[in-house]
Point group: none
Chain length 236, copies 2
Amino acid sequence: MSSFFVILSRPSSPENIGLVARGMKNTGFNELRLILGTPIDPNSYITAVHAEEILDNSGVYPDISTAVADMDVVFAATARHRKNYTSLSLKQAVRKMLKFSPESRIGILFGNERTGLTSEELYHSNFLFAIPQETSQPSYNLASAVLITLFSIYSTAGANKMQAAQKKPLPRWEQEECIRLILQKLEEKKFINPGNNAHVTGMVHDLFGRMAITAKDRDLLLAIFSKGPDRNGSSQ
Amino acid sequence: MSSFFVILSRPSSPENIGLVARGMKNTGFNELRLILGTPIDPNSYITAVHAEEILDNSGVYPDISTAVADMDVVFAATARHRKNYTSLSLKQAVRKMLKFSPESRIGILFGNERTGLTSEELYHSNFLFAIPQETSQPSYNLASAVLITLFSIYSTAGANKMQAAQKKPLPRWEQEECIRLILQKLEEKKFINPGNNAHVTGMVHDLFGRMAITAKDRDLLLAIFSKGPDRNGSSQ
């Protein structure tokens, strides 16, 4: 099975961090990353019953970009529908996760308890998924959302025991570099302009994020997108 | 679907009671019964975000016998194997629950955080079930165990009806039309030439095929790919 990394962005409750660690231990996951401006609050240990070593070994990162740089693919949990983005159901997301080749490093990203994930955080993700719920309010508690997700992976993986391996995507930072270059080309072409920037940038991230770009994909995409402007550039 | 009743026996943490209510609301369950010697601790309301009415309407019972008297069948959650008892997996239990006729009243019983269920409590149950877990310690937090159970019922029941509303890709012929237009643009740009035609055509089909292009994707892609050549075309 691939390596899974639970990534919590700006969690505000130390108690939730501990509960997440406990849920990870229950379901057999070890790698926890926290995007925090400070070290872990010692109060997190109160709820991390028998899962203290997951907190001990967790990584604290200053921002989303460094937290996902060495991931191959990132799945982001969102409670509500996000304009411009395709959202998978939890079941679809888990199925997709389990198709990546065993050496893949898969990040599962959860936002802050109150605000969820920002657009900036979504730009660093390949796929969005939502956990089905019956009512629009309340959303799942943060630790609950993590637990349901991990339990689904754990029980589905146990049920399937691996399917055919999908090609390994580029490390996340290289995917982002590729998308950045595409966006740059689109700006040069004036396809992106100040009036539509946020909108189109979101759509482009959604479209190319879903590809989980491999090395071969990148070569092709950059070749395709370089072609036009180069000709324009040389035709002056 | 049958009526489900979540029954907590002697829960010691008010916070867990509130979290259980929130998880019930998330997954569409309403009926909560508490076996307690006292009224609900008001602190339970702190964690019952947007699910206060479940606490308001919950029933408090002095003992297990009165709490289950009007149930048709009772499923009891246990973390560990119990001598003399057959234990179902969660999946088996959920399947069994969903097979009862719609007018059935099904109790799902959870024991105290520290001690679990007593033998006396098991005497009042029809079936025992255990939630799979990777390690023997820690066991699931009480609210987590309830949530995983309810989410399994909710998603299994839902899976039979609704399939996740994934964005529908275009009919296959329209996807192909879109790819054909992209290829045409790439030929106009001389990105595709007689020397690399078969190779690049294959790669482009692979790349855009994997997207399972939706109507929205097509609009974006064609806009992106039209931009360059249109400018070239009009600049003669």
